[in-house]
Structure formats: structure tokens, C-alpha cells
Point group: C2
């Protein structure tokens, strides 16, 4: 055993998990999604800035507003997923830093007074948290279907409060029939990693 | 049990894991890091673009070049970690797409012919993979110490080949004495999540 993580957990999170394109109608509960969030919120971000904001699309009314904003190839998936999560980065995350980073509350002004710096940081750290979220959905025994094929400006206008930038939209549920493609090749260790 | 992931795995990856600031001198083997990579490479990126590139700093010569590029507050940590990983995003990832996304090899030209689009996509998807990597290090029973306090242009010039943008630098090893601060507060589910 080279890894400490047990192999059932490796399978659940990585080896047997796949991006799902179809879903059963088995519901996903608020309790499940809260357990996912309460686990993944613990994983690290820079300055504990925690910029990820999540909009859960549950009502038929909200889904009807979302579907026309999806790329055509994504509409059927998003129509069939029991719940759909819009993941966004809060570019005004620095307002929370005095509470989130209490041992250096000045970080808000020292590091994040400039908007382009904040936006870059929110994007990178929001993406870190999006990855934790995808693995958290898998940790709940559910399949995630992350997508970037949608009208970003339209989703921002229609669904996001304040100064939030969409990162991706994730379909969530139990995988249905023919839910995934065969896994595509990955870069080998030798291709992606060098040692100096 | 709301989550399918067993609680030992939840603890290892999230609850009992912390960003480490000190390290023992117990070595980290190439075999461990290859097992981490071979697990985390399976997690999803958009178009399977897999833009993460990793430079493992192992030699004394390379570490001596890295230390002056670290923010002063990060130097002692990076000096003491058994191995240090520079994580970067390959802005020319599209060259690999015909191999990585074989069922639509035209994606390279249809979606990624423009440099600013590629750079944004490499940053977001490289950050997703950086998050998978941090959890992968924890899956190996090791502690990760991710940092963004360093001279980005200097690290790019000194360590990265080609058109790669640094994302973060991660100290890796077994935690030493007083390795971590108490965990700072996180945003609650109600603060970060809304339902529509």
C-alpha cells in the first residue's frame, strides 16, 4: 500500500467515479448537500479566503430559466439531473477576511485592496473549492457532471447576486443508463512531472 | 451515514488534515509521488485538458535557487520540507488535446485557438488539478503546505519550461512539531449556499 487512503475510498473518489451525462430520478436531499459542503469547506484556500458560492437549482421555475442558457449539448443532462449547482467565485471575498483569517485581519487591505488581484485570487481559489466540491459529491455516493458550456454572462445576470463570476455548472445525481463515456487517456507521470 | 465515504477517509482527507508549516526529515519517495499523481490524474478537467505541470524540487542545488524566490515568511518551511512541488498551468495544453480528447480532436482549434481563452482555461483547470493534488498528498498520509507567497515571475524564469504559469508551491512531508495553526472559521452552508 503506497497510499494511506483505503482502496474503496480511492475507487469511490477517483477510479470508479466518472463524469455523468444521464441521471436517475432518485432525489438528492438537502441533508446530503449540506454534508458535502460541511466536509469540503475544510480543505485549504489561500488566506482561508473561501470564495466559492453555490446556487442550487431545485425549483422547476429556476430550471426553466437555466436551460436556455446551457449550450445545446448540455440541455438534456441539465434537464434530467435531480439538482444542479451553479459554482461561482465571489470577487468581494475580502469583506469576509477579518472573520475568516482572524490572526491577520489586515490581509483584507494589505493584499486584496486591488480589484484585479482579488478577481484572479477568487478564480484560482474558487476553482480549488470547485474541485473539492466535485470530490465531495462523489464522497456522497453521487455522480457529478461539471460543465463549462453555458452562457456565462447570462448565468451571472439571471442567477448570481453581487459581484460573483461563474466557474462551472455541476449536474448532481445518481448516474442513469449509459451515464458516461469510456475514460479518455491521461498524461503519464513522465509527461506531467519533472524533477530537479 | 449521510456520506458514502468512510469516516477514516473523511478524516484523512479533510477533518484531521491541516496545512503543515513544519516537517520531519522522513523522506518522501518517488514511488509515493507517482502513486499520488496516478490517482489524481483521473479526476475531471474541461475537455480532459489536464493542464497541470509539476516540478518536484529535490536536489540541494535546485532548493538553493528556489529559497530566495520565496516570501521571507515561507523560506524556513520550504527549506525544511523533504520535497517541494511547483504547480504550474501549461498555457499550450491544447497541443495535447488530440491525444487527450480523441472523440473530438477538433476541440484544439474550435475552442482553444485564442491565447487569452487558453490562459483562462489553463488557470481554472490547473487549479482544479492543484486541489486534487493537495488531497492526493493527504491520501498518501502526507501533509501538504500550499503557498502563493513567492516571486511568480522569478519562479517561472528559473524553473518552468515553455509557456507555463505558476499556480502555487506545495511543501510536502510528514508534519513536524507544532506543524499547524488552529483551524480558522469557515463560512457556514447558509452563508455560502443559496437554493432557488
Amino acid at each position: 500500500m503506497t497510499l494511506a487512503l483505503d482502496s474503496a475510498a480511492q475507487d469511490l473518489l477517483f477510479r470508479e467515479a466518472h463524469t455523468a451525462n444521464t441521471f436517475t430520478d432518485e432525489p438528492v436531499s438537502d441533508e446530503q448537500l449540506q454534508a458535502v459542503y460541511d466536509l469540503i469547506k475544510l480543505a485549504p484556500t489561500a488566506f482561508n479566503q473561501s470564495p466559492l458560492r453555490i446556487v442550487l437549482v431545485r425549483s422547476e421555475e429556476a430550471r426553466e430559466r437555466l436551460l436556455p442558457l446551457m449550450a445545446e449539448g448540455n440541455r438534456a443532462k441539465t434537464a434530467s439531473a435531480p439538482v444542479v449547482a451553479i459554482l461561482a467565485a465571489d470577487n468581494e471575498f475580502h469583506e469576509e477576511l477579518p472573520a475568516l483569517f482572524p490572526h491577520f485581519p489586515q490581509a483584507k487591505d494589505v493584499f486584496f485592496s486591488e480589484r484585479p488581484v482579488r478577481e484572479q485570487s477568487a478564480t484560482v481559489n474558487g476553482a480549488l473549492q470547485a474541485a473539492y466540491f466535485i470530490l465531495g459529491i462523489r464522497a456522497a455516493g453521487l455522480a457529478a457532471g461539471p460543465m463549462t458550456g453555458f452562457d456565462f454572462a447570462g448565468v451571472q445576470k439571471e442567477f448570481l447576486d453581487g459581484d460573483h463570476t461563474p466557474l462551472m455548472i455541476v449536474n448532481i445525481g445518481k448516474p442513469g443508463p449509459d451515464a458516461h463515456h469510456p475514460r479518455s487517456p491521461r498524461l503519464s507521470f513522465e509527461q506531467a512531472v519533472t524533477t530537479v
